[in-house]
Assembly symmetry: C2
Homo-oligomer: 342 residues x 2
Amino acid sequence: MKTSAPKVKDVARIAGVSTATVSRALNDPDKVSEATRTAVLEAVKQTGYRVNQAARNLRTNTTRTILALVPNLANPFFSNILSGLERELATANYNLLVTDSAGGKLSASDIGRLIAAGQADGLIILDGNSSRADIEQVQDEYPECPLVYACEWVEGFAGPSVRADNEGGIRLLADHLWDHGHRCFGHVTGPADNILSRYRRHAFETRLQELGGTVKDNWIIPGDFSIASGSAAAEKILQMTDQPTAWICASDTMAFGMISTFTRAGLDVPGDVSVTGFDNIEMTEVFNPPLTTIHQHRNKMGQQAARCMLDRLANRPAAKTQGVVMPVYLIARGSSGPVRER
Amino acid sequence: MKTSAPKVKDVARIAGVSTATVSRALNDPDKVSEATRTAVLEAVKQTGYRVNQAARNLRTNTTRTILALVPNLANPFFSNILSGLERELATANYNLLVTDSAGGKLSASDIGRLIAAGQADGLIILDGNSSRADIEQVQDEYPECPLVYACEWVEGFAGPSVRADNEGGIRLLADHLWDHGHRCFGHVTGPADNILSRYRRHAFETRLQELGGTVKDNWIIPGDFSIASGSAAAEKILQMTDQPTAWICASDTMAFGMISTFTRAGLDVPGDVSVTGFDNIEMTEVFNPPLTTIHQHRNKMGQQAARCMLDRLANRPAAKTQGVVMPVYLIARGSSGPVRER
DNA sequence: AAGCTTGTTGTAATCGATTACATAGAGGTA
DNA sequence: TACCTCTATGTAATCGATTACAACAAGCTT
């Protein structure tokens, strides 16, 4: 009894109207009379009709699909953002297509290919690795395809972006440690070319200068957000003859690696040295010691980015063409404490 | 200078052939002569032509898109699987559409709507929450849409699934603890209706019976994979007058919660009690103490599931119609040790 | 009554590809 | 030469919706 899926035609026949009327009843109910509308809806129910998206997409030249470009899908950091994105898009009846940019820098033509081939109405980019020129070229080539940056962004690009207050976060941490009496600070950075790393590092240097704290060049250690790089940094630190009393790591994961290595070497955190992270990932609370860190609403960032995208798609005013900076919060826990009396 | 995107027609005109030939040159190169093929390719390059997917989808009634149904996108556990999926699908030129089933049980019509509306060629389900009847109904209604389960699955469903050897993992843990002299075991389960929970719990009970260890009813504590439920279990345990010397938690996160609470209560892990997890998430290694757990190749599971899907789509023999069980590995670390002498 | 507006509906064109069918020419065979 | 086969290509139908345009009726205005 395998009958092929019902078409508008079938619905029209059953409802006793034309296909145009069916389409109108479904997409623009105000355009038809009360009577026909109910007749059509009844026929739809009866036939079990469902619109063929491919046909609609072709005709209307839209897809109701948003493409998200994620630097690394395997990184749990992004899953919360995706979750926020997905939920918000779903409520507006948009689909979420996901692509892993696999860390590589995407050229303009790479992105162009995604837009053209991926058949998306808009692009949400979580990966700040592309150059400004490339992005602007893409925006030029596909002016009808909105681009929205989330989490990461590209310096100087004039389009909308949603991001956390990275500098504010670092300032909160620095002030927190300063209040506990720390005067000598170290910092483990993220990847050198990552925009989050750069902002966090810059805020670190600036704030400490404002406070009048001590920072030495070799107290700024390059990392890459990974646990391993946090451990490696700790190894390096253990060799130093003069060490700061407080370390601000650019990510929770690096802080975990650092604390773990410190602890194994017999150091007490926070007794001997305070260590802080950034992100407030789930595990921070049960870590031993619990990690002092900066909380950012990743879910809400995703949601916000999705809203921004929907606004642009609907040509709504979208005051936020420039950039939304989401507030962050200090979560003080056990990994930071008063500076040790010598 | 805004000219609309080039069409097959344009390419055909420039290459001096018909649209049919262009299409053939692009999709079935063997069907045209060497000369026309190069002419067409040249014209494509010259015009910058890119196929309009919507049109192709409509005509061929396919989408080159696979829909993944994830129980909870925000759960990092799934990001690795998605990553494996995405990478494998991308190599075969398929897109990945992601939907969060938000924990709710999906009915047959929910899934049907996703298939019909989401315009996907296949469905990879990471969420074992649907009933067998529902799934079979979907498979009946959409026989041309392959379903593949990954990670979780539905008991009794005859379609393909890719999953970890959950029972084997629990056995490895039980044996490991047994070898360290433990004789009294407790278990913290996942959600009662989750298939992974059920399999792990069942393996736990069975193996301990085989070994001759002691398990009491109140040593099996219901959890839900969350950190908080691990902590809650620990609180309960601390009230018990007789406690087992070893706890097997059904997830790493619960083990973290448990250890954290134990430690704060003054218990030493593993001196006073051994605790193990399941999953080997990234943090296990730097946790204090490092967590003994079971490693599963989540990335490879995703990859495998994607391959299985691609095989089915290509009508390849796909010997693996029934179910692939991926091996798991014991990772013995510091959270488990010899039973304490009394 | 003629003319205009408004609301509702139908006819048929359209989106941009793929592909069934027809055709022409080259080469082979009897 | 007549006939058949095979390859390469073109013509036009087709996928299933949306929508521009036309048509018609009802209600108003003058």
